[in-house]
Amino acid sequence: MRQTIYFDNGSTSWPKARGVAGAMAELLENGAFNINRGNYAGAYEVEGIVLDTREQLARLFGVRDSRHVIFTPGITYSLNYFIKGFLKPGDHVLVSGLEHNAVMRPLEQMKGRGVSYDIVLVDTEGNLDADELEGMVRPETKAVIMTHASNVCGTILPIRKIGEICRRKGLFFAVDTAQSAGTIAVDMEGCGIDFLAFTGHKGLLGPQGIGGFLISGRLDEQMEAYVAGGTGSQSDSLLQPENLPDKYESGTMNLPGIIGLHAALDYLEKTGIDAVHEKKMKLTACFLEKLKAVPGVRVAGRKDTKNRVAVVSVDFLTVDNAVAAFTLEQEYGIMTRVGLHCAPAAHQSLGTFPQGTVRFAFGMSNTEEEIDCCIGGIRKITGY
């Protein structure tokens, strides 16, 4: 059987945590009953696991009341809920220069509805100056939306400091944790975050199709339910319920996804995210160190392991990046992601637009031997 090496954990983690597939299969084979609708013991049992999953997420993100944990089909949906459910004509928003299209495209859509935004530029390592952001706040600025860690170069943004600024200036603060959740600790209340968007299938090691957000009480008072419909509660009324989590959870939920995520969070709680981060950073350090000795490539963003997650973007200087990624896969079985990573704004900030990069994102199951194999492949491709 052909050897394969999976370095595309920035897109989705693989393999998933032990127990995820089994838990999902168990549900689907033995009773995928519908919660909030079915009035029988099997449905109540599933509902109990969903409640427990909310509790796990509340613990993970430092929130006291797990009713503020909302499930969605994924982080893109979550960010759309915030951008389209909260912002009104005339509002202004600040974003970082590292944002994904999950933020930028909904914001561009909202320009047609009278919402404006400015980008706080980052330096070539992806670092953002919080003072510069503060200086860009206008009277009509309503919120700051920011990724916690770049999906292109891995740089971690100073969310605690930005959260302090938002509180001081009376702004709402939304954070995209796509690349950080499950890898580095995020204290939502401690960092002054009003809206924390997460996905289940990356660092949280769960299945695709499940994500969500956590919402502060003060934001909930001002945010509308972007999606409305049946919740199984207050069904005598034509109005959307105001209670959490029902307000934001219309329609039948992705129960296999939540049950899979529950198993993944069990694994993470037992393993500890500090241990996860340590392992990934050890691999990142190994990769960066060995890559230094290879001419013909440059790393976009930070060249060290400080203040980053295990996502490394490499620009091949002597060969098209797509050809490099294709060769790595064809000849070495190494799976990466090449291109702009749905983040053209970030690539513009990092000086890798439009050629993009080949992204290497390491996971818990990767090994130093796999990195050695990859470095060997990169050497062959670059001719050094």
Binding site: N39, G48, L51, D65, T231, G232, S235, S237, N243, P245
Partner: protein, 86 residues
Amino acid sequence: MERVQHYVLFPNHDNGMRLYHELKKLGVWAVIAPTPRSASKCCGISLMIKEEDIGAVRTCVSEHGIEILKIAAVEKDLNPHRDRYC
């Protein structure tokens, strides 16, 4: 045999499940059941509880910030006016 059954009614399932789990931890008898239509036109779950536990249930609700609509007493007898055309 008691003539009435007491039910805790909720604005949504989530709060019902929360109270159910907290009462289980305390060893207080509770059974999840569909909300009696005579108690509320709102669909959803309710918790059947014993009359003598009402005080403990209210304390639990208060201590955990659980949202409830009310605690209703529902007659166990069949209503002679219901389904009168059957």
